[in-house]
C-alpha cells in the first residue's frame, strides 16, 4: 500500500467520523425543533384554549348573576360575548385532538356546557328565577362547576403530556450533544494513534535509511535498511542499493 494512500485513508476515516457525528447532531437537533413545534401545536394550543374557556365560563357566571339581580341588558350582553368566546376556544380544542382519549374529554365538555347553557338561555328576568339564590345554587352553580372541572381535566391531560414531552426533549438534547463530545474525544485519540502510525510508516523507515547510508559511508558497512513495508520507502531503499552497486561497478572499472 502506498504511503499517500495510507495517510489519505487515515484522514478520510477521521473526516467520516466527524461528519457522521455532525450529521447525527444535526438530525437530533432537527428532531428537537420538531418536538418543540409539536409541543406548541399539540398541547400548548389546547391549554390556552382551556384557559380561555374557563375565563368565558366565569364571565357567563357573572352574567347570570346580573340577570338574577334584574339587570337584563348588561347580563345578556356579557352572556352573549362570553358564549361566543367559549365556543371559539372550544372549536380550537376540538380541532386539536392530539392525545389519547382527548375526544372523550371534549365530548364531556360539550355535553355539560350544553346543559349549563340551557339553564341561562331561557328568560330569567321577570320570572320566578329572578332574585332566587336557591335556583342559582341548585341549578346553575352545580353545572358551572361541572363544566369547569371537565375543562380542567382536559388542561391537566395536555399539561402532563407537555411535561413528558419536555422530559423527552431533555433526553433529545443530550443525544444531540453527546455525539459531538464523543467525536471530539475520539478525534483526539485518533490523532494520537495517527501520529504513532505516521512515525511507524514514515519516520522509523527514514531513520533506518539515514543510519544505513551513514553506516555505509562512515564505517563501510553493507547498505541494508531492512524496510519491511512495500511502499515508496522500500522503492527508495532498492534505488539506493542500485546506486551503490553502480558506484561500486564504476569504481571497479
Amino acid at each position: 500500500m502506498k504511503i499517500k494512500f495510507k495517510i489519505l485513508t487515515g484522514f478520510l476515516l477521521l473526516i467520516i467520523m466527524l461528519l457522521i457525528a455532525g450529521a447525527m447532531s444535526i438530525y437530533e437537533f432537527s428532531r428537537i425543533g420538531k418536538s418543540v413545534r409539536a409541543l406548541i401545536d399539540d398541547n400548548y394550543k389546547t391549554i390556552e384554549a382551556s384557559k380561555t374557556m374557563i375565563e368565558a365560563l366565569e364571565r357567563e357566571d357573572s352574567g347570570i348573576l346580573l340577570l338574577i339581580s334584574g339587570k337584563w341588558k348588561e347580563g345578556r350582553q356579557i352572556l352573549q360575548s362570553a358564549d361566543s368566546l367559549f365556543l371559539s376556544a372550544f372549536d380550537i380544542a376540538k380541532n386539536n385532538l392530539t392525545e389519547k382519549d382527548e375526544d372523550m374529554y371534549i365530548e364531556k365538555i360539550e355535553t355539560s356546557y350544553l346543559i349549563f347553557k340551557n339553564k341561562w338561555e331561557p328568560p330569567i328576568v321577570g320570572t320566578s328565577k329572578e332574585n332566587s339564590v336557591n335556583w342559582y345554587f341548585t341549578e346553575v352553580h352545580i353545572n358551572f362547576i361541572k363544566v369547569k372541572s371537565e375543562i380542567n381535566a382536559l388542561m391537566t391531560l395536555n399539561q402532563d403530556s407537555m411535561y413528558l414531552e419536555a422530559s423527552e426533549l431533555k433526553e433529545q438534547a443530550h443525544r444531540a450533544i453527546m455525539p459531538g463530545i464523543v467525536a471530539i474525544v475520539s478525534a483526539l485519540i485518533f490523532l494520537v494513534m495517527f501520529n504513532f502510525f505516521i512515525g511507524l510508516i514514515l519516520v522509523r523507515p527514514i531513520k533506518k535509511l539515514i543510519n544505513s547510508v551513514k553506516g555505509y559511508y562512515l564505517h563501510s558497512q553493507n547498505f541494508d535498511a531492512e524496510i519491511s513495508n512495500h511502499d515508496e520507502l522500500k522503492e527508495l531503499e532498492i534505488e539506493i542499493q542500485n546506486l551503490i552497486s553502480r558506484i561500486h561497478q564504476k569504481n571497479e572499472k
Binding site: 467520523m17 457525528a21 504513532f196
Partner: protein, 479 residues
C-alpha cells in the same frame, strides 16, 4: 514490546464489537427506537478504530507473552470502553460511570446493573446489553482469534493468556481445536436454550437475550423482576439446567456429547461441584421451610434457583433474597465466593481451586501424620505439581485479599458492611447480585460513583484471573 501489534489485535476485537453494535442498531431501526443514533454511532466508532490499525500494521506470526498479556488486558479495557458508548450516547440513567459500570458488568459476565427500570430501555439497547454478556462469556479475545486468521503460535500465546492454565488440563487438543470446541459448545448451548425458552412461552426476543445471559453466566435480564417476572416453572427449570451446564468445563461437556473418555461422569471435580450445589440447595431449602418462609415445594423451588444462579455466577433471580434468614444468606455468599468450574464461561475464584485447596488440606494433614511419606496431590489420577498447588493457594489468598480491600474501600465511602462485603465478593466473582442494598432484585445505582468504579476493577480482576492485570503493573520486570 511492539505496540503496533498490540493495537492491531485490539482493533480486531473492536471490529467484533462493531458487528454486534450494528445488529443492535438494526433492531432499533426496525422498531424505530430512540437508540438508533447511539447504536449506529457507537458501531461506527468501533469500526473506525478497528480498521485504522489494520491499514498501517502488517500481521505478525509471532506474539510474545508480554504482547499477548497486553492484547488481552487492553483488549478487554478498550472493549468495555467502546461498549459503554451506546449507553453514554443514549442518556437516561447512564452517566459516564454508570455506562462504564454496565458495560464492564456485561463484558465480564457479572450481571450487576445500575438501572432502576430496565423495561423502559429500547430493545436495541437491551440486545446490546445481552450481547456484551455473550461476547464476554467466551472471552472477546478468544472469539477474535478463533474467527480471524493468524498463525497457531500467536493463537497459542493469546489462548494461554486469556485462559487459566488449569482450564487446559481437560483439553487434550491443540490450540486451534480448543478454540473450536469452545465455540461449538457455546453456540450449541445458546441455540438450544433459545429454542427451549421460546417453546416454554418466552418471546423470541426475551428468549435470545436470556439465553445469551445464561450461557455466558451473566445474569442481565430484560425484565425488572428478572426471571421472577415469568413465574413459570418450566422456564426456571430450563434456565437452571443451562446455568449448570454453562458452569461446567466446556471441554468436559464436549467430550460427554461425543462420548469420549474424559467426560463429566469421570471427572471428580464435576462430581464434587454438583454435590456442593446439591448440599447447598438442601441446606437452603430446609432453612427456608423451617423458618416458615414458604411451603416445602416453594422452598425447594426458590432455593434451587438461587443456589444454582449464584453457584454458577449467573445472577438471575426468582425472588428477593434480601429478607431471607441469615443462614441461607451465608450459604449463598459461600457460593458467591466458590463460583463455577474452570474452563466454563464463569469468572471469579472457580470451584477447581476450592477442590485443590481441600485436597491440599488433606495432604497437609497426611504429611503431619506421616512426616517421611512422599504424598502427592492427585485429581482424577493426575498429579498436581507443587507449582500449580502454590499458584492456587496464592490465587485464593490474593482473591480474598482483594475482597477485603474493596470492602474496606466501600465502607470508607459510607456503604454498610454487609452491602460492601457482598458487592465486593459478587463483583470479583462475576456473580452480579449481592445482599443488603444490592440484593437479587435490587441494583447498584445507589452506591457512590467511586465505589462503582472500584467494583468495575474487581470485575475485570475476576474475569482476567487477577494476575493478568497485576503483571502489567510490573512492566520493568518484563524487560
Amino acid at each position: 514490546m511492539r505496540k503496533e501489534i498490540v493495537i492491531r489485535h485490539i482493533g480486531m476485537v473492536l471490529i467484533f464489537n462493531a458487528i454486534f453494535l450494528f445488529i443492535s442498531f438494526l433492531i432499533s431501526l426496525y422498531l424505530s427506537e430512540t437508540s438508533v443514533v447511539p447504536l449506529l454511532y457507537s458501531s461506527l466508532i468501533a469500526l473506525v478504530f478497528g480498521l485504522f490499525p489494520l491499514i498501517y500494521v502488517k500481521p505478525s506470526h509471532y506474539i510474545s507473552i508480554w504482547e499477548g498479556t497486553s492484547i488481552v488486558v487492553f483488549g478487554w479495557i478498550t472493549t468495555c470502553l467502546v461498549g459503554s458508548l451506546p449507553y453514554i450516547l443514549w442518556g437516561g440513567e447512564f452517566s459516564f460511570i454508570n455506562a462504564w459500570f454496565e458495560s464492564v458488568s456485561g463484558f465480564t459476565t457479572t450481571g450487576s446493573t445500575i438501572i432502576n427500570d430496565i423495561e423502559i430501555l429500547p430493545k436495541g439497547l437491551l440486545f446490546w446489553r445481552s450481547s456484551t454478556h455473550w461476547l464476554g462469556g467466551i472471552g472477546i479475545v478468544l472469539f477474535t482469534i478463533l474467527i480471524l486468521p493468524g498463525s497457531n503460535t500467536s493463537k497459542l500465546v493469546l489462548l494461554n493468556t486469556e485462559m487459566s492454565p488449569l482450564a487446559k488440563s481437560n483439553f487434550k487438543f491443540r490450540a486451534k481445536e480448543i478454540l473450536r470446541i469452545l465455540l461449538y459448545v457455546y453456540l450449541g448451548l445458546t441455540i438450544l436454550e433459545t429454542i427451549l425458552l421460546n417453546l416454554a412461552g418466552m418471546s423470541f426476543f426475551d428468549a435470545i437475550n436470556h439465553s445469551f445471559a445464561t450461557i455466558a453466566t451473566g445474569g442481565f435480564s430484560t425484565k425488572n423482576l428478572s426471571i421472577a417476572y415469568y413465574n413459570s416453572i418450566s422456564i426456571e427449570v430450563i434456565i437452571m439446567v443451562f446455568m449448570v451446564f454453562s458452569g461446567v468445563h466446556f471441554g468436559l461437556t464436549f467430550n460427554t456429547i461425543l462420548g469420549n473418555k474424559n467426560n463429566i461422569f469421570k471427572s471428580s471435580i464435576f462430581k464434587a461441584y454438583i454435590t456442593f450445589l446439591l448440599v447447598g440447595v438442601i441446606l437452603v431449602s430446609l432453612k427456608l421451610y423451617f423458618s416458615d418462609m414458604y411451603p416445602w415445594w416453594e422452598s425447594v423451588r426458590y432455593a434451587a434457583f438461587q443456589v444454582i444462579s449464584l453457584g454458577t455466577t449467573t445472577g438471575f433471580a426468582t425472588i428477593d433474597t434480601a429478607n431471607w434468614p441469615s443462614f441461607t444468606q451465608i450459604i449463598l455468599i459461600y457460593f458467591t465466593i466458590q463460583c463455577a468450574m474452570i474452563g466454563s464461561t464463569s469468572g471469579g475464584l472457580k470451584f477447581d481451586r476450592i477442590f485443590i485447596f481441600f485436597k491440599a488440606i488433606k495432604k497437609q494433614i497426611k504429611s503431619i501424620q506421616h512426616p517421611h511419606a512422599v504424598i502427592s496431590l492427585k485429581v482424577d489420577g493426575n498429579s498436581i505439581n507443587e507449582k500449580t498447588e502454590i499458584h492456587t493457594m496464592i490465587f485464593i489468598i490474593l482473591y480474598l485479599g482483594i475482597i477485603f480491600i474493596t470492602t474496606a474501600l466501600l465502607t470508607y465511602l459510607d456503604v454498610d458492611n454487609f452491602t460492601a462485603f457482598s458487592s465486593s465478593a459478587a463483583t470479583i466473582g462475576n456473580v452480579g447480585p449481592g445482599f443488603g442494598n444490592v440484593s437479587s432484585l435490587g441494583n447498584y445505582s445507589n452506591l457512590p460513583d467511586l465505589g462503582k468504579f472500584f467494583l468495575t476493577i474487581n470485575m475485570l480482576l475476576g474475569r482476567l484471573e487477577i494476575f493478568g492485570i497485576i503483571s502489567l503493573l510490573f512492566i520493568k520486570s518484563w524487560r
